[in-house]
């Protein structure tokens, strides 16, 4: 069963990350790297992607005279996607456990970030009957 694990943050949250010390950031990346390697080894890893910062986000709504209508204005409270993991696991509990580990990755001062991670199952594609 495929699940997507979504990590989001407001703009304020992101600039908070900028203030982390080098050792805190290294510890965080090391934990995530370890989780990734485990998932690759267990065959549960499908993909992961990081997105560039919300600063650069654009909203596109249709076009006017053949030119896309874009703007970069978002409410302060908007939660931006920072990145995601896609895993292929046997049970929902396994997906939640993986999300829990990512959430427990250390942040400033080595304290777990406890970042909330949204877990969504992919719509099942109907099996071919022919």
């Amino acid at each position: 069963m495929k699940y997507i694990l979504l990590m989001s943050s407001t703009k304020t949250g992101v600039s908070g990350y900028h203030q982390w010390s080098q050792s805190d950031r290294d510890a965080h990346m090391q934990t995530l790297g370890g989780i990734a390697k485990e998932l690759v080894d267990s065959g549960e890893f499908v993909a992961t992607q990081g997105l560039t910062e919300p600063k650069e986000a654009k909203m596109v709504r249709g076009e006017k005279n053949g030119v896309p209508v874009t703007d970069g204005i978002f409410p302060e409270s908007k939660e931006f996607l920072l990145g995601y993991w896609i895993v292929d696991v046997a049970t929902p509990e396994r997906a939640f456990a993986i999300a829990g580990r990512i959430s427990a990755a250390p942040g400033p001062g080595g304290i777990p970030t406890n970042m909330p991670i949204e877990v969504r199952q992919f719509a099942e594609r109907p099996a071919a009957t022919n």
Partner: protein
Amino acid sequence: MSGPAAELPIEHLLRELAPQVLGAIARRFRDFSSAEDAVQEALLAAFRQWPKEGIPENRRGWLIRVASRRMTDMMRSEIARRERESAATPEEEPAIEPVEEIEADMDPEDTLILLFMCCHPALSPSSAIALTLRAVGGLTTVEIANAFLVPEATMAQRISRAKQSIRTSGVPFRAPNPQERGERLPAVLHVLYLIFSEGYASSIGAQLQRLDLAREAIRLTRGARALLPEDTEVAGLLALMLLTDARRRARTGLEGELIPLDKQDRSLWDRDEIAEGTALLTLALSKGTVGLYQLQAAIAAVHDEAVQAADTDWPQILALYELLQRVAPSPMVTLNHSIAAAMVHGPARGLERLRLLDGDERMRGHYRLDAVRGHFFEMMGDFRKAVQHYRMAAARTTSLPEKNYLLTQAARLEETASEPNS
């Protein structure tokens, strides 16, 4: 079964042979696009069969035979389709060409023809890159797709459309005349340079089974140099690649982090590549012309000859950037020029030069502008502003290793600035 060349892995053998076979088939059948498909299939067949049955003595002949059979099959089924649809008089069946005849027609210039065709200015950069790697480089679609992290089907489509563009534009399969060569060589060099840059940029961090694109670019450029031995910009490009590639083992740290030039362990630099690159450059420059790749290579050579970062001949680098500004101005050149200016005349001068870019649309929001500014403020001891700019650059960069590097710099500076005796 086979001679010393059997020691080489099969894919290396195949990559060398691929453009030769493609040239022969494209010329004989006068259909570059279908020939390219047929040759790909022959390569894949060789890849499957040679490990089991042994490498044939006449490898090229084998590939030509398989590819031309495929071409004739494709032509036959096309004829059959047309006959079914129109009930016209039966067309003549295409004859099976003897391999020896096809080989007799071969021209050492074929690879050059292919290179010019695949790097045609009408193609977008990513199309030209994909097609060049396949048709001239002999790489498989899967290898190229993996190198660029796109699905195989997408890369196959990209290559197919590139060939379609070539077909529609009617580019003939013949050697470019001297004038065409002069006009179109820059596009060829640009594509090779892009392949190298992509390969070198992705050499940061842990290595996967990814194809070494930087090495591929060097191999292709060596090929170009063999075909155009008198051309100084081809030599300059090859020199630039070698002088840059020489540093690759030093640019990644143990955790896969980025290490900038001035902090690299220079004992890890490849001295042979540096020697080769420098010799090539000296030869090219002795011919009197000065082009953009030769200048960039010269700058790389000055960096590479410094035993330690502190020994770097910055005044020479500054002079070279001044020349580069005249030969091939660009915002990136201005940026790098400002760094050299700062190293020679102090960071205030560097900042002055950077202001030239403030109005430049092309640089607006570009992370390097903030990164370099941050560096100058750090040099001046204005840590608060340096940290600010490093963080702005980190927010803007699209590269994860660069982002981490910039945030680390900012964190380090902040810790230094808050120390009691700083």
